[in-house]
């Protein structure tokens, strides 16, 4: 349910955008989801048909790009992927890093036709 409410929000935003730009048919919608965001791509895909039902996005294909969850170690400054390294800096082992990317949930673009 968490994903559904957010996908409905996405559909609203895209519809608004399409209306403003005179787009009537959308072939593809591209979303970007960070690895560290609380959104699960598989669930987004699952509830997408339900969220677009009866909207201008009804026949739109969904594409999801994953953004890496990268962080910078606060102790030694190394940049690394948080998930691959289980949160610990691969250079010095310290588990205290500042998140640089991966929390995003973005509507990247649409392909209109």
């Amino acid at each position: 349910m968490h994903e559904l409410s957010v996908v409905i929000e996405v559909v609203k935003t895209v519809e608004e955008f399409a209306k403003k730009n005179g787009v009537t048919r959308i072939d593809r919608l591209v979303l970007q989801i960070g690895e560290l965001s609380s959104m699960i791509p598989a669930y987004i895909e699952e509830c997408f048909p339900c969220a677009v039902d009866g909207t201008t996005l009804e026949s739109t294909r969904l594409e999801i790009e994953i953004l890496p969850g990268n962080a910078r170690c606060r102790a030694c400054g190394k940049t690394f992927n948080l998930l691959e390294n289980k949160g610990a800096c691969p250079a010095c082992g310290v588990k205290d890093a500042e998140i640089l990317s991966g929390r995003e949930f973005m509507i990247k673009e649409i392909v209109a036709c």
Partner: protein
């Protein structure tokens, strides 16, 4: 042949709600209604805390309550019995409230003549932290039986609130709950946070909590 055109949107999905929350916050400020968003997991004592809060402040503020739940009206009944203006909101399965839903709730409640509205959010420590409701201040309750490891498990919630109530403090001797560990974990996530131990059951700490609300309302009015 059909021509395809790529149109860049580059917009955060949360942006729409964030914007609507800012608008609501500004309108509430204009109308002099202080909205407190109260969050916690289910069973932490939110409703009992709300009742205690009403008891402590009803002589000086006109209070309204928005009870948000997935279903039922048990909480609204309890609060209504205490003589406060209250409505029950049903999210219909949704796990958090958005700024739009909060606005609808406030419209149904009617904020005319109210100084202070408590939004008792849905019992959930995850997505309630992500969706800005438009509240003037955010508060959360962690109850002793839930354990002192919760700031480690749900860091976002602890990082975004202005105040943390540690409820059921009267039962601390029955649980392995390390108060100092919680303080240390929480302040690392959120250095400016205020932590108030309370017992909604016995009333311990409620005076300090009421004083926090008074101070915040005063400062919010002045800002």
């Amino acid at each position: 042949m059909e021509t395809f055109k790529v149109m860049e949107i580059k917009k955060s999905v949360y942006e729409g709600n964030d914007r609507r929350a800012e608008v609501l916050r500004a309108e509430l400020k204009e109308g002099k209604v202080f909205l407190l968003n109260l969050m916690s997991s289910p069973g932490s004592g939110k409703t009992t805390t709300v009742l205690r809060t009403i008891e402590a402040l009803r002589d000086e503020m006109r209070i309204g309550v928005l009870e948000a739940d997935i279903d039922s009206d048990v909480d609204a009944k309890t609060v209504s019995d205490a003589g406060t203006r209250v409505i029950q909101m049903h999210s219909g399965g949704m796990c958090h409230l958005t700024a739009d839903m909060t606005r609808q709730g406030l419209e149904c409640l009617g904020t005319d003549g109210l100084d202070f509205v408590i939004l008792e959010n849905i019992g959930n420590l995850i997505c309630t932290a992500e969706a800005d409701t438009g509240a003037s201040r955010n508060a959360m309750i962690l109850s002793v039986p839930e354990g002192d490891d919760k700031p480690l498990k749900y860091p976002m919630m602890f990082a975004m609130v202005d105040v943390l109530l540690i409820n059921k403090i009267d039962a601390i001797s029955f649980f392995d709950f390390d108060f100092e560990a919680v303080r240390e974990r929480v302040t690392r996530l959120n250095p400016g946070i205020r932590i108030i131990p309370i017992s909604a059951k016995t009333g311990e700490g409620v005076a300090e909590w009421a004083e926090w609300i008074r101070t915040e309302v005063r400062e919010w009015k002045r800002a």
